[in-house]
Amino acid sequence: MSTDTETREEEAMTDETPPQDGGAADLNGIAPERALEILREMLLYRRFEEKAEEAYAIGKIGGFCHLHIGQEGAAAGSILPLRGDDYVISAYREHTQALAKGVRPRAVMAELFGRRDGSSGGKGGSMHIFDVEHRFMGGHGIVGAQVPLAAGFGWTIRYREGDQVVVCFMGDAAVNQGAFHEAMNMAAVWDLPVIFVVENNAYGMGTAFHRVSRTEIHEKASAYGIPTEVVNGQDVLETYRAFADMIAKVRDGGGPFFVDLHTYRFKGHSMSDPVSGTYRSKEEVEGKIESADPIRVLADRLKDAGHLTQKRLEEMDAEAREMSQDALEFADASPPPDPEALYTHVYAEINPNGRLFFDGLERPGFAR
């Protein structure tokens, strides 16, 4: 296996056709080979995030760092059915979503480290992963603010009469933001090709959803006339099937969709927060890890259907660990950004007349 993601990416782009045989019937109509690829992806997400956790613990990663551990099925099931030219935009728990869209593990880890080879050159950090080549559009830190941006991507697609699809992720807490409601309304009115996905892990940081809403999440979207689905994100094959079907409809001009994607966060809100405590019990978390680990759920389904052995699982896991270790070592070896980078990319156009910067500091020529 390659140490970077070139081959991984090609595999992820492989067009998947549900075969009539080969056991696909037991796997939500997904070919066993594809299901194994999905498993390999999720193992990478898990091991990658564990490496990030280790690196954070020894101070290699700073600031806020929100891990996706426990929610890998939500990322894989919703993003892997997309095309390379489809758009994904998310909030700040987005490392594995970037990986799923094809961003190289090395580039994501180097960004977490704040290094030159990071996907945003070290300027974005954990919450602002961007990779235009893979149409991964961030990485946004204000709860709900990415939702109108996603509507804007959908606007451009419609304006240019393209057939791309936008998948916009948000946490359950985002559905109480004004930006969410305004964007849902516009997406419905203008039939924008956007799938809005609430990764519903039941808690906005430490606030249980039902403490801050009288209505269910899917009812909020229904109010705008957008078709909604409730999907179990801990079962990645169910998620994949639902998204593959939905993406086809949206691509075909079916307008926006909304998904209440049920999932569960196995770690704290961020690396600075406790896993359990005042807002959820240790027993609750342990129970979920025991019963609803998306990787185990998939591995068990594949084993039961005779498509996976324990030995093969361990080999795949070793590959995921190796790739994550490679990303970590790459990030650690990558130099910090050049000091001149402080001034670059503030403006896309430096007007030849007039002053744009007022800090009185020396600038390297016309810093772009």
């Binding site: 961030g138 109108p148 804007g152 930006a179 964007a183 503030v346």
Partner: protein
């Protein structure tokens, strides 16, 4: 040259840029079927169709964000705020999304978008509809800010703002829409951002200003002339980028300066200009730099109170006399 109104000049700029570049579209409240709350977009729906001239719901945060998303993916939106007072609802998208996107993405994603509409007070619209919003927009790196005072500037600068590759706030004046002036009839009449314009030459004192206050400054300069005082009026036109050279050249000539703005004084635009002049032309100053601003209160409704709150030609004259040590 033709004499047209400020409103017509803006309309021409929009029409010409939309004809020139099919990635340009206009979105905002009442811009299409209603022809615009101030009729700036009159006739554009008929000419360009509903794909490119779009009535939005009253959702400033939402459609500003949609515009930013469209700009991130290759279009050039012009987002009209019925007034910049309402844009305060949208500031998260302007500052946290538009202004920072290019930097956060390390230059991968630019945001060529124009946010436009009137800023400042009109007549008796009271506190929530009468504020100058320049400071909020000019404060954040990543944004540019333009404030035309005349029809020619409105046209030339709007065309430049639409062609610029960064987010540009374009602040008009409600009371300027009917103001008439000569405008070149050239499709490529573009005034580059960051070039100030000396609207009146003089050697005794410099009045620095922008936007609608240019006309108050010019009134003051006309009255001062009768008193034998030759005031120079420098219209900054663009607050970011800022034409520092023209500001300093004028101050070095007159050795005295007054800043006039519609906004509040505290951390206002004038505060920045005063700071800049004392840093870069301290030895040329013969008097303290003064500012004429709105009274440091929300805008009152009553006519007499509103008049007291706004900068006036008389207050500009008084400030000029003070820096000239005249009574």
């Amino acid at each position: 040259m033709a004499e047209i109104t400020y409103r017509e000049a803006l309309n021409q700029a929009l029409r010409e840029e939309m004809a020139r570049d099919d990635s340009v579209f206009l979105m905002g409240e009442e811009v299409a079927e209603y022809d615009g709350a101030y009729k700036v977009s009159k006739g554009l729906l008929d000419e360009f169709g509903e794909k490119r001239v779009v009535d939005s719901p009253i959702s400033e945060l939402g459609f500003a964000g949609l515009g930013v998303g469209a700009a991130m993916t290759g279009l050039r939106p012009v987002i009209e705020f019925m007034t910049f007072n309402f844009s305060i609802l949208a500031l998260d998208q302007v500052i946290n999304s538009a202004a920072k996107m290019y930097y956060m993405s390390d230059g991968q994603i630019s945001c060529p978008i124009v946010f436009r509409g009137p800023t400042g007070a009109a007549l008796q619209l009271a506190a929530q509809h009468s504020q100058a919003c320049e400071t909020w927009y000019v404060h954040s790196p990543g944004l540019k800010l333009v404030t035309p005072a005349t029809p020619a500037d409105a046209k030339g600068l709007l065309k430049a703002a639409i062609r610029d590759n960064d987010p540009v706030a374009f602040m008009e004046g409600e009371l300027l829409y009917n103001f008439k002036g000569e405008v070149p009839e050239d499709d490529d009449f573009v005034i580059p951002l960051g070039v100030a314009d000396v609207k009146r030459e003089g050697e005794d004192v410099t009045i620095l200003t922008h936007g609608k206050m240019v006309h108050v400054a010019l009134q003051a300069a006309t009255k001062l002339e009768k008193d034998g005082v030759h005031a120079e009026v420098v219209d900054l036109r663009s607050l970011r980028p800022l034409d520092v050279d023209t500001i300093l050249a004028s101050v070095k000539k007159t050795n005295r300066a007054v800043y006039v703005e519609e906004g509040w004084s505290y951390v206002g635009v004038g505060a920045q200009i005063v700071s800049l002049i004392q840093e870069e032309a301290f030895d040329h100053l013969d008097a303290p730099l003064l500012r004429v601003t709105q009274a440091d209160v929300p805008m009152p409704y009553a006519k007499n109170l509103e008049r007291l709150a706004k900068p006036s030609a008389d207050r500009v004259i008084a400030a000029c006399n003070r820096v000239l040590y005249r009574n």
